[in-house]
Subunit: 194 residues, 4 copies
DNA sequence: CATGAATGAGAGTTCATTCAT
DNA sequence: GATGAATGAACTCTCATTCAT
């Protein structure tokens, strides 16, 4: 079970991602992935033992890609508020479920699969996002764009609101206006907070 | 064919609620509910056709009970900030998953079952909570307890944060300290917001 | 399990007949009959143990009624050919499935339930019909209406054709024209047979 | 997903045929066929979705085989009356239920499953048999073996009698003598009809 | 490595039959 | 007599997992 063909593994993970994006986690069967990959049953089991294992690898890949995207953005010469705006735009896309997006699958998976805190990729992603936002706010404050006496608190608050928007979008439906309004509300807090 | 024994129906719904609270929605089988109720296969089908139907009734019951709880609290002579504190305490309990609590089941159900906006019980509950919080904030402002120039915006923001906390609690785990900290952050905003 | 209420038993049998006429035998459940009778489950079991038992009684009743109908026709002052024509008209109705009619139910029942020859109501009915037709033909010959040197053979042949038409009507569909044509073919044989 | 192993499919169809021959159509469950084939539940579902589907394929196979048998007989150098006698001998076997024979199953199936006339295999088989018999009679007339001024009518009549015998054999039981007698009756008509 | 037929556990559903009231 | 809730066996269908080729 070492490496087999890395390329084939990548190929399976890409196709599997689409499947999870469409069907969430729990409803996905090995057959779904076999169909999506046009691969044999045995062939799939050669690389992965379960949908769980596949999903975790899909997630790992996603995490790496997300980090790359962020790194790029951060290295460009931009102000804190610019990058924050960019970040929020990305989040808006995810909230509104534009494009393939694993939100529901992630929720379904981690509801049922308790992962040790330290290794929990959702937690890791969340915390790293908080730190980045905190830094962006601090940059913004330094640049005179923002007023904020608790950048960490504000960053955390922002992440919880975004998470709340994400889950509400999936359970009750949310319009773009609603997302805009909530983001605006938070930005106002950064500009005028005493 | 409608009711059979109302008491038995209630009994099944109570037991089923425990099951949903423990296993979410998607993983629950009729067998699980049969086991929990200690009744026969056919006996259960006498009252309900599917886990979906059972879940919807459990939800309806929950909604009624929640409304009652709120009504009681509201009729007591208390200031806005007191009731808000009470509400947040309840929410904290739910977030931290003390007692039987359907959070995960609700999420799982509404991820998979798209319900027309107007009839979506999650949406209805959310919106009614927003209105109540808005009112409480306005009461608090009137009483000089709060400072807030956008009570509706603040109420909405608060609800999204709470929703974010709920979902994060389920996916990554959250400590009581974290919840306290986030609530405190929001309350500070109500006290000192310019 | 003696008589209970004879009237109720009759009532159940009437309703049950409709059910068998609509659904055949095998697909009929006790529930179907309960629904048709608007009676309680236990109530039905008080009178009958199974659909099989109900069906046999329905059949017995049918047999009696059929005999009565025939007796009436025979007592009227008519020629053999008139009564034969009347008989064939009735058969045509049954073949074409006009009105409530147990054809399919009878087939389904006796395919699956082997009954001793002597007690088999279908056989009894068939044989008595053969005898009557034979007599009618002989009457017709006597009256100079028919020419036939083997009235028993002709009667049997006629009954098999009718049975063939009945079963074909149910399995492949048959038009009124087809029935008319076949009856005409047989009648011609009775008029011109050498 | 179409064929898997053709041989296995054939094997299942053979075993299934026995089952249908013994139990008719309606009472046959997938379990019955599983038992007869000594395969696993999932194994059967790999090839067929329902007893209905299996039955239709069994029927198709039967039809093909029957056609072959007929073709052979027809190509041999024989007179019309010889082939007709052969045909009737085959029919006699079927009527008397010698060997595996789907009569009851076919009846049960087509009682419950209304098939468009044009596609109804029973109808198709019936009509093609009528045509063949008509031809055989005409051949016999030409050869001076038969006297018949309405070969089509006679052929149809013969088929309905045979159908009547078949169904009576299943519902009330019939002896070989009865079949012989009825066939003889029809043959006499072909020899001496005016 | 790769294939896909085969397996069997388990979920959903229906119904004849019983029995306390 | 009459009721209808309760039972459990039997059916249908699906899927993760294995294994001979």
């Amino acid at each position: 079970m070492g490496s087999k063909s890395i390329q084939k593994k990548q190929y399976i993970l890409e196709k599997a991602k689409s499947v999870f994006a469409q069907k969430g986690f729990k409803s996905v069967t090995m057959q779904d992935i076999i169909d999506a990959c046009q691969i044999s049953r045995g062939g799939l089991y050669l690389y992965f033992e379960s949908t769980r294992e596949i999903f975790l690898e899909v997630l790992r890949l996603e995490g790496e890609e997300a980090d790359d995207t962020f790194s790029e953005a951060m290295t460009e010469e931009s102000t804190g508020s610019d990058i924050l705006a960019l970040f929020l735009k990305e989040q808006k896309k995810e909230i509104l479920n534009k494009g393939e997006n694993l939100t529901v699958a992630i929720y379904e998976f981690f509801f049922a699969n308790k992962v040790p805190k330290k290794e929990n990729p959702v937690r890791i992603q969340f915390n790293s996002a908080v730190k980045i936002i905190q830094q962006l706010i601090m940059d913004g404050v330094e640049a005179g764009e923002f007023i904020c006496d608790d950048p960490l608190g504000a960053a955390r608050n922002m992440m919880y609101v975004l998470e709340g928007l994400k889950v509400c979008a999936q359970t009750m439906g949310i319009t773009e206006e609603t997302v805009n309004r909530e983001i605006l509300y938070m930005m106002k807090g950064l500009i005028s907070e005493s």
